[in-house]
C-alpha cells in the first residue's frame, strides 16, 4: 500500500471512530431532558427578530405552535414538564437557552395533539442545573421537519432562581431581596446543620427554625419584623434530599447585636468528610431598587469523626454584628 493509501486508510478509520451522535447525559448543561438527544451547537432555525422571520409568515416551514417550558425554575428542579405542539410535518423539536449551554436538545414529535388534529405533540421531563446563572434567560424552541428544515425560533423568558433565596430579585429588580441571608452549602450527602446564635442568645437550628423568642405568654410570632426563618433541614436523619443547603433568611432588618454562626455535623451518613461554604448575603440599595450582594464567604471541612448527633454547637465559623 502506498503512503497515500495508508493516509486514506487512517483517515477512514478516524472518520469511522468519530461517527455517531453523542450519548452524553448533559450534566454540564443548564438543563437536560430525559430521553432527548443532545446536539452540540447553536439552535437551527430563523431567529424570531430577524427579517427572514417575517418573510416566513407564509408558513412554508414547520412551526412551533405551543411552547410550554417552566418559566420560573428553582435550582436543581427535577422532572419538570416541557411540552408543546408543532405543525404537521414537524419531525422533531429543538430547545435550548439562548445564552447558556453548549448545544440543544432534540425531541421527536409523537401523536397528533388531542385538541388539534393539525398539530403534533412533543414533550419531555426536564431537569435543571443546581448552580445555574441566576436571572432571566431566553429559552428558545424550533420545529424541524423531515428534510431537516428548521422554522422560526420561538422564545420565552425563563427565570432561573439562585440557590440562595432572593425573593425573585435576580429576575425582577422590583422584588426586594431579604435583608439578610445566612447560607450554608456543602458538597456531600451528610446531615450538616446551620446553627446561628442570635443576640438574644437563642440558638436557631433545624429544631428551632425561627429566631423569634417567646413572649410573656410563651407564644412565638415567626412573622414579626426582624425575625429570621430557617428554610430547610437538608438531609435530616440522612434522608438525602440533594439540596445540601440551609439558609436562615431575615426578610426585614435583623435585631442589632452580635450573631455567632456554626456548622454542626449531626450525622456523617457514611461519608468520610464534607466540605462546606458559608456565605452572607445582604440587600443594598441600587438605583431605585434593591440588589442582593454577597458580603462574606468562608469555607471549611469536617470529618466523620466530628459528627455529634447534635450534642454540641458545632464548629464555629464566624461572627458578625448588626448595628
Amino acid at each position: 500500500m502506498s503512503a497515500r493509501g495508508w493516509l486514506l486508510f487512517t483517515v477512514a478509520l478516524g472518520a469511522l471512530g468519530c461517527s455517531g451522535e453523542t450519548l452524553t447525559r448533559g450534566l454540564t448543561e443548564p438543563f437536560r431532558i430525559d430521553g432527548a438527544q443532545f446536539q452540540e451547537g447553536e439552535l437551527p432555525g430563523i431567529p424570531a427578530d430577524s427579517p427572514a422571520a417575517e418573510a416566513e409568515s407564509a408558513g412554508s416551514l414547520p412551526t412551533l405552535v405551543g411552547f410550554l417550558p417552566l418559566t420560573v425554575v428553582p435550582p436543581g428542579a427535577v422532572d419538570r414538564t416541557i411540552s408543546g405542539t408543532a405543525t404537521r410535518g414537524t419531525s422533531s423539536v429543538g430547545v435550548r437557552f439562548a445564552d447558556l449551554g453548549t448545544g440543544y436538545w432534540v425531541l421527536p414529535t409523537t401523536n397528533a395533539d388531542l385538541f388539534s388534529e393539525n398539530e403534533l405533540a412533543w414533550g419531555g421531563l426536564a431537569s435543571y442545573a443546581r448552580q445555574p446563572s441566576p436571572g432571566k434567560h431566553r429559552f428558545l424552541g424550533v420545529a424541524i421537519d423531515g428534510q431537516g428544515r428548521a422554522g422560526v425560533q420561538a422564545g420565552i423568558d425563563v427565570c432561573l432562581l439562585p440557590e440562595v433565596p432572593d425573593n425573585g430579585n435576580a429576575c425582577d429588580p422590583n422584588k426586594n431581596p431579604p435583608k439578610l441571608v445566612i447560607s450554608l452549602g456543602w458538597n456531600s450527602p451528610v446531615d450538616l446543620d446551620l446553627r446561628v446564635v442570635t443576640p438574644d442568645g437563642k440558638i436557631v437550628d433545624a429544631k428551632h427554625p425561627t429566631s423569634a423568642v417567646k413572649d410573656e405568654d410563651g407564644k412565638l410570632d415567626p412573622t414579626a419584623d426582624g425575625t429570621g426563618q430557617l428554610l430547610t433541614d437538608s438531609n435530616a436523619g440522612c434522608q438525602i434530599d440533594g439540596q445540601q443547603r440551609e439558609s436562615l433568611v431575615y426578610q426585614t432588618r435583623p435585631p442589632a447585636g452580635t450573631y455567632l454562626v456554626y456548622a454542626n455535623l449531626y450525622e456523617a451518613c457514611e461519608q468520610a468528610s464534607v466540605e462546606f461554604t458559608l456565605t452572607l448575603h445582604s440587600s443594598i440599595p441600587s438605583d431605585d431598587h434593591f440588589t442582593q450582594i454577597e458580603t462574606l464567604r468562608k469555607s471549611g471541612a469536617l470529618q466523620a469523626i466530628h459528627a455529634n448527633g447534635g450534642a454540641a454547637l458545632g464548629t464555629f465559623l464566624t461572627q458578625f454584628s448588626i448595628e
Binding site: 471512530g17 453523542t22 450519548l23 419538570r80 404537521r88 422533531s92 421527536p108 414529535t109 409523537t110
Partner: protein, 490 residues
C-alpha cells in the same frame, strides 16, 4: 420441537464434505484447555500418585467447544499433546497465549492466567449515572485473573476455578466447579470420552463462543448476541457429554439463571433449561479442518411479581413553586402483591468453522447464527409476561483470523444482534418500526510470545440506534471502543 430437523443440518453438511473424517482419527494436537487447564494424560494406575499429569506442550490446534467441555470435565480423557478432536479453531497455545505448564501437587493440578487491559469508549463521560455509578469507561481493568485446581482419576474428575476481576469493582467468585464421572469406552485418548457426566457449575454447550476458553479466545470478548443470551458462560446444573468418532454431543440441564450479580440469588422457578449441542468435526484433507453443529436451548423464564405495597403520602408540586400546598398532597393507597409468572423461551443456533494451514500460518473462518424467543437475559432482558407478546431475537457473526507466523495474529469479526424484532414507536403521528439492531465490526492485531503471553489491540466499531439525529430519528450513537490487553499465563 420444530427445530429438530434443523438441528441435524450442519451435522449432515460436515459428514458430506468430510467422509474421510469418519475413517481416520483426528490428528494429534494439544488438547483444549477451555478454562484453562490442559488435559492430562490418563493415569497409569488408579492411585493418586499415578494421576499426576504430564505437562501439556503448546497445542497446534484448538478443540471444538463440546470437546473443550468434555476435556474440561474429564481431564483424563485426552493426552496432553492431543486435541480433543479434529478441531478447526485456533487455540491460545498456538496463536496467542500459550498454556504454561501447570503446577502439580500430589496429583492436584494448579494453573491459571491473567488478563489486564486498558479500555477506551467514545461514550465515556466523567459523570455519574442516576444510581451513582461512574459513567467513565476509560480505565485500566483487571478483566480476569483465573486460578484453577484439577484432580483427575480413572473414571472421575473434579475441578474448581476461581475468578477475580475489577470489572464492577473488586470481585472474587467461582467461575467453574465441576464433579465429573466418565466412561472412555473405545475412544482414543485424545478424544472426549464416550460418555461423561458433569455436575456443578458448568459451561453451557451452545455454539462455539459460549464454551470457548476465554484464554484461547481470539477476540477480546464474546459478541453482543452471545452475551445477551448468556450473560455468564456457566450455570449450575448437570451436563451429559461425549464423542463417537467425529460426532460430538453435549446436553445440559441447568437452572437457567445467569451466575452474575445482576441475577436473582438463586433459581426462581422449578423449571429447568435444557441446553445442547450436536455436531461433528473432522479433517477432510491434511491441514484443512471443518467442524459444525447445531445448538438449542429450551426453558422457562421468570417474570418477577411485585410485593405488596403500603399506602403512602406523596407531595406533587402541581404549580411547580417548590412550596407545599394542601391540594398538592396525594394519598396513594397500598396495593396487593402481584403474582410472578413463568414464560416459555428458546434458542436455536447453528455454527460452522473451518481452518487451513499454510506456510504463513493458520487461517480460521468461523461463524454462528441464532434465532431466539424471549431469551435475552443481558442486553434488553425479555419479559413477554409483561407485554403479552413473545420477544423475537436474532443474531450471529462471522469471523476470520490469520496467524502471521507464530508471533503475530490479526482478525476481523462482524456481528449483528437484534434484541427485539417487533418494536414500534410513534413519530410524527405515524407508527413506525423501531430497530434496536446493533452491528459491531471488530479488528484485532496481536503480538504473541508463544507459550507465554499475548499483547492484543482490538477496535470495535459499533453501529446501533441508541441516539437520535436532529430530526428525532434513531441514529448511531458515538460509542466505539478499543481495548489494549496483556494476557499472561500464571
Amino acid at each position: 420441537m420444530h427445530f429438530a430437523e434443523l438441528s441435524l443440518l450442519p451435522l449432515a453438511v460436515v459428514l458430506l464434505v468430510s467422509p474421510s473424517a469418519l475413517a481416520q482419527p483426528a490428528p494429534a494436537a494439544a488438547p483444549d484447555d477451555d478454562m484453562e487447564v490442559p488435559a492430562t494424560t490418563a493415569p497409569a494406575a488408579p492411585t493418586p500418585s499415578a494421576t499426576v499429569p504430564a505437562p501439556a506442550p503448546p497445542a497446534a490446534l484448538a478443540a471444538s467447544p463440546e470437546a473443550k467441555t468434555a476435556v474440561a470435565a474429564a481431564p483424563t480423557a485426552a493426552p496432553a499433546a492431543a486435541p480433543a478432536g479434529a478441531a478447526t479453531r485456533p487455540k491460545a497455545s498456538e496463536v496467542d497465549v500459550a498454556k504454561a505448564e501447570p503446577s502439580s501437587l500430589g496429583g492436584l493440578r494448579i494453573s491459571g492466567y491473567l488478563h489486564a487491559q486498558y479500555q477506551h469508549s467514545a461514550a465515556s463521560e466523567d459523570q455519574l449515572n442516576p444510581s451513582g455509578a461512574p459513567l467513565n469507561e476509560n480505565e485500566f481493568v483487571l478483566r480476569r485473573a483465573r486460578l484453577r485446581f484439577d484432580r483427575t482419576w480413572d473414571y472421575a474428575a473434579a475441578n474448581l476455578e476461581l475468578d477475580a476481576n475489577t470489572v464492577r469493582g473488586m470481585t472474587v467468585g467461582i467461575r467453574r466447579a465441576e464433579a465429573a464421572i466418565f466412561y472412555r469406552g473405545p475412544n482414543a485418548p485424545h478424544l472426549p470420552p464416550l460418555l461423561g457426566l458433569a455436575v456443578g457449575i458448568t459451561d453451557l454447550p451452545f455454539g462455539f463462543e459460549l464454551p470457548e476458553s476465554t484464554r484461547d479466545r481470539i477476540f477480546m470478548e464474546r459478541t453482543l448476541g452471545s452475551s445477551a443470551l448468556f450473560p455468564s458462560e456457566a450455570d449450575a446444573g448437570a451436563k451429559l457429554f461425549g464423542a463417537y468418532s467425529v460426532l460430538r454431543y453435549a446436553v445440559a440441564i441447568s437452572n437457567g439463571e445467569p451466575l452474575d450479580r445482576n441475577g436473582l440469588p438463586h433459581d426462581p422457578n422449578s423449571a429447568k433449561d435444557v441446553t445442547g449441542r450436536f455436531g461433528a468435526e473432522g479433517e477432510p484433507a491434511r491441514g484443512f479442518t471443518l467442524a459444525g453443529g447445531t445448538s438449542f436451548v429450551t426453558g422457562t423464564g421468570f417474570h418477577r411479581g411485585q410485593p405488596a405495597r403500603k399506602s403512602v403520602i406523596r407531595w406533587r408540586d402541581d404549580n411547580e413553586d417548590g412550596v407545599l400546598q394542601a391540594n398538592e398532597i396525594i394519598a396513594t393507597p397500598g396495593t396487593a402483591a402481584t403474582p410472578s409468572k413463568n414464560f416459555d423461551r428458546w434458542v436455536l443456533g447453528l455454527d460452522l468453522e473451518t481452518s487451513l494451514t499454510t506456510w504463513l500460518g493458520r487461517s480460521i473462518l468461523y461463524g454462528e447464527a441464532f434465532v431466539a424467543s424471549s431469551y435475552d437475559r443481558g442486553y434488553v432482558p425479555a419479559d413477554p409476561a409483561a407485554s403479552g407478546v413473545a420477544v423475537r431475537e436474532a443474531g450471529g457473526y462471522v469471523a476470520f483470523a490469520q496467524e502471521l507466523t507464530k508471533y503475530a495474529l490479526v482478525g476481523l469479526r462482524a456481528s449483528i444482534y437484534d434484541p427485539n424484532s417487533d418494536v414500534f414507536e410513534v413519530h410524527a403521528d405515524k407508527t413506525v418500526p423501531k430497530t434496536q439492531t446493533v452491528r459491531t465490526f471488530s479488528a484485532l492485531a496481536a503480538a504473541v510470545l508463544p507459550g507465554r503471553a499475548r499483547l492484543s489491540f482490538q477496535y470495535d466499531w459499533i453501529k446501533d440506534y441508541l441516539a437520535r439525529d436532529s430530526l428525532g430519528v434513531p441514529s448511531d450513537a458515538r460509542n466505539n471502543r478499543w481495548t489494549l490487553r496483556l494476557g499472561v499465563d500464571l
